[in-house]
Symmetry: C2
Subunit: 139 residues, 2 copies
């Protein structure tokens, strides 16, 4: 998962705001990781400390073991999570955030705060938008 996105950065040159400059396609890669259905949830749970596979599975309600495996692999690949295998009879694997992974929780928390603060307004906007459309006769 999380494919290459091997595109040019030409459009960076067309943007002239500070944050625009800082964005472009590269940031898209990070946002894909952060924006996917489970990664953030997993990272959040791992801030509590190392967790076993099944613990995470139980914590993140609704995730399938397939997706959990895939997400953890992706996170591990990006160096955000460290995987430790204990060679014992009933397999035992622990996952924990790397320093890089921990550093990500800061900006993400900022986004989380924004989300919490503005969720109501967003939902009101959605209701308003949806009502307007259904009333205007769209099937």
């Amino acid at each position: 998962m999380i494919d290459p996105i091997p595109e040019s950065d030409e459009q960076c040159a067309t943007v002239h705001t500070a944050i625009g400059q800082a964005s472009c396609k590269r940031v898209g890669q990070v946002l894909s990781r952060v924006g996917d259905k489970w990664s953030i949830l997993i990272i959040m749970f791992l801030t509590d400390g190392p967790q076993r596979f099944s613990q995470i599975k139980r914590s993140v309600d609704g995730i399938s073991q397939r997706m959990l495996t895939l997400c953890l692999r992706g996170l591990e690949r990006d160096g955000l999570v460290k995987r430790t295998v204990y060679e014992v009879v009933p397999a035992h694997v622990e996952y924990e955030l790397t320093p890089l992974g921990h550093s990500l929780t800061m900006p993400v928390a900022g986004l989380g705060r924004w989300a919490m603060e503005n969720l109501d307004e967003i939902e009101r906007a959605r209701d308003h938008f949806d009502n307007r459309n259904t009333l205007s006769g769209k099937k």
Copy 2:
């Protein structure tokens, strides 16, 4: 696009870190919006001020008019973008960020900064991970 995610918030109770509390499923909705392939790019370009449909299309390299329409609709629905139609012969439509939309650029910029600062480390981690796997004989 951007579906309901009508799930319970039970798991919130199982988390005990501050940022963990603030997250959970709700934040997932925002992250889905932020994390999708084009929304952020569009928002970034709109920080420069109101833009016409075709301007955005030209700026965001590679986006299809279909996706642009869909994304703008989604952003409008969430109250992040305002759509203004000028009733003239060659249709003229402008899009601009709402105050809510502008406020989102702050936390997003934080994430963008993190991405820029850590992209090298992430790519190194990926190379390392990929090499390790190909060498260990995986087909």
